[in-house]
């Protein structure tokens, strides 16, 4: 499904290629690019990465992977490769339940219940 000017999209950019990365970095980080992702309203297809250059606004639509320019919610113009149209949120409460958590809670309830019983027993026996 092509994205059209005005659509809400997400773009991606390689900010620094691995060989351009700097300073004291662990080897695993140095080996991968430094990347950014941003969202905005699609302005149009871009010819190159320099914001301020020509933008193609009349085209029928752009596809994932195309170089585009967007306008962010604060009005900034950014360029990058289109990665998603109308990106939603897919983080949630995990793919599975973790019953160990419930065990922790039930155990604590049992400890408190035991303490309560001990107290009642103690009181019944006339202790203070």
């Amino acid at each position: 499904m092509p994205a059209r000017p005005g659509d809400w999209v997400q773009i991606h950019r390689v900010v620094l290629a691995p060989h351009e990365r700097t300073g004291k970095l662990p080897e695993d980080t140095r080996a991968v690019p430094f990347e950014s992702w941003s969202k905005g309203f699609l302005v149009g297809r871009a010819a190159d990465e320099t914001v301020g250059g020509p933008v193609d606004v009349g085209v029928a639509g752009v596809s994932v992977g195309d170089l585009v320019e967007v306008e962010t919610v604060v009005g900034r113009r950014l360029r990058g490769r289109l990665v998603a149209l109308n990106p939603g949120y897919d983080h949630g409460f995990g793919t599975t339940y973790v019953p160990e958590l419930l065990h922790v809670a039930r155990q604590a309830q049992a400890v408190l219940a035991e303490a309560h019983r001990d107290r009642d027993r103690h009181d019944l026996a006339g202790g203070r």
Partner: protein, 500 residues
């Protein structure tokens, strides 16, 4: 038919290359902070911290009024009776201090960070900025976005969110969602310190205010938290609490709270820092990034920022935790998840796990303290998708981390998360504060350029330097002088100049 529009209005940014932008760091930050830090320097190790904080120009009452207007502060102080009872069941006779919590999640964006953000926005408005920005993967981003929304300012938040496989940490994805829900633009970056470069470029391009976590205004925003604790305890209990526990990462939380406690006259209240122990993980590692279940409030920030506060995005940080910390408790990831579950099941309060780091430390500490003592846990945070034990533990398993019940001491960050198999396993472990203090002094000397650069190139630390270091480390002259001597720094006094 294609239409090509020549925009013509490029950004006013010059050379966008990494080296060129980092070389402009000082100039960009000066413009984005509106504060000239040079005036606080002594020319040697010391700087005038009291004047930095005094220049905020707001009394605690002024801050409280400013915060009242934006719905920040005056959070409930709640007694956690069943957690206290549980601690007593896991303690020797006569032990089991009372545990209270400040429910900071009642603040507008769901955490105590609103206190800091409210003052950041006050400062931005005073200085005439039309937008604000912050570099944070944490709750502070949402807090800044929230306060910016109230003030009609634009907002950009830069966060480190994805690893090289484009896997997002669930907690940080929720922060993104929250910031966007509040109208902010979110810049998402992959792992690495180069986030600062991207952040600088954005600041330069937009001319927005850098709502730094380390500003004096932000720390002043936390002081009322300490004051409220004292007032509420006096009202409820007729005394100040014996203990306050503040989660420690960048140090602002603990610094502001401790300063507030002192302002309210609670000079005997012990201030404990608390962090999740993530020793062994590298914070700049692409591999390790998604193999930890806490993105803040952990030793990955807590250790470096305590021992080197001035390596942040401001020349001199107003967050100086070693100045105020009586001790530093370390807790395990599994212990915090367990406490989060217990807070829900035993006290009916569902809260985000990252906000329960201090609660875990409090439970451990309570087991060792007399029953008539009071421990106040200084925060909670909101919970939701991503900010939840299920989200984090499920994610951990997906990333190959072993999640099991057992002895928390067996937990290996990055490899396992061990939920305590009995509440009595939740233990008080202390960081080596003396070693941190020594480290701090060494870093302070490095900061001016090394031993020979101290004292403007004389290699001698002045009395001002020594007094400053005593205050910064909560030690004494003997400790400071011995440490400086070991570092090859001489000091004046008694007419004798000692050099090694």
């Amino acid at each position: 038919m294609m239409t090509i529009v020549d925009r013509g209005n490029g950004t006013s940014v010059g050379d966008r290359s990494y080296d060129a932008v980092m070389a402009r760091n000082g100039a960009i930050m000066r413009a984005a902070l509106g504060v000239d830090y040079a005036g606080y320097e002594s020319g040697s190790i010391a700087f005038d911290y009291d004047r930095l904080m005094g220049d905020v120009g707001y009394t605690v009452d002024d801050v409280r009024e400013a915060q009242r207007r934006v719905g920040v502060g005056n959070t409930p102080l709640l007694e956690l009776r069943r957690l206290t009872a549980l601690a007593r069941q896991c303690a020797e006779d006569g032990l089991g201090a009372r545990i209270f919590v400040k429910d900071e999640q009642t603040n507008p964006s769901g955490s105590y960070k609103d206190r800091r953000a409210s003052m950041s926005i006050v400062q931005a408005r005073e200085l005439g900025f039309r937008g604000v920005a912050a570099a944070t993967s944490g709750n502070y981003g949402a807090a800044v976005a929230s306060q910016a929304a109230m003030a009609g300012l634009k907002c950009v938040i830069a966060q480190e969110c994805y690893d090289s496989a484009r896997i997002g940490q669930p907690e940080i994805l929720e922060k993104m969602r929250k910031c966007e829900a509040l109208g902010a633009e979110v810049m998402q970056l992959s792992v690495g310190p180069e986030l600062f470069y991207s952040y600088l470029l954005m600041l330069e391009e937009t001319g927005y205010f850098n709502a730094s976590l380390y500003s004096a205004y932000g720390i002043a925003g936390v002081e009322p938290l300490g004051v409220e604790i004292v007032e509420q305890c006096h009202s409820l209990l007729g005394k100040a609490p014996e203990h306050v526990i503040a989660t420690n990462a960048g140090g602002g939380n603990l610094t502001g709270t401790a300063r507030g406690l002192r302002i309210a006259g609670a000079h005997h209240t012990l201030v404990h820092g608390a962090s999740v122990d993530l020793h062994g993980l590298s914070m700049a590692s692409d591999h390790d990034f998604n193999r930890k279940s806490f993105t803040t409030g952990h030793t990955g920030f807590g250790m470096p920022y305590a021992t080197d506060p001035d390596h942040s995005d401001v020349p001199r940080s107003a967050a100086r935790p070693l100045r105020y910390m009586d001790d530093y408790l370390l807790v395990k990831q599994g212990e915090v998840f367990a406490m989060t579950e217990l807070l829900a099941h035993l006290e009916g309060m569902e809260r985000g796990p990252a906000g329960n780091t201090s609660l875990a430390a409090a439970f451990a500490l309570a087991r060792t303290r007399p029953r008539d003592e009071v421990i106040v846990v200084q925060e909670t945070e909101y919970t939701g998708a991503g900010k939840h034990p299920l989200a984090q533990l499920s994610f951990a398993r997906d990333m190959g981390i072993e999640v099991r019940l057992g002895d928390p001491d067996d937990e290996i960050p990055g490899r396992s998360i061990v939920l305590p198999d009995h509440p009595s396993r939740i233990s008080a472990r202390y960081a080596d504060l003396e070693r941190m203090r020594t480290s701090y002094i060494r870093n302070a000397v490095d900061h001016v350029g090394g031993a020979q650069a101290v004292g403007g190139g004389t290699g001698i630390a002045s009395a001002v330097d020594v007094d400053y270091l005593v205050a910064e480390t909560r030690t004494d002259e003997r400790f400071v002088r011995r440490t400086l001597t070991n570092l090859g720094v001489g000091f004046s006094g008694n007419g004798a100049v000692i050099r090694t």
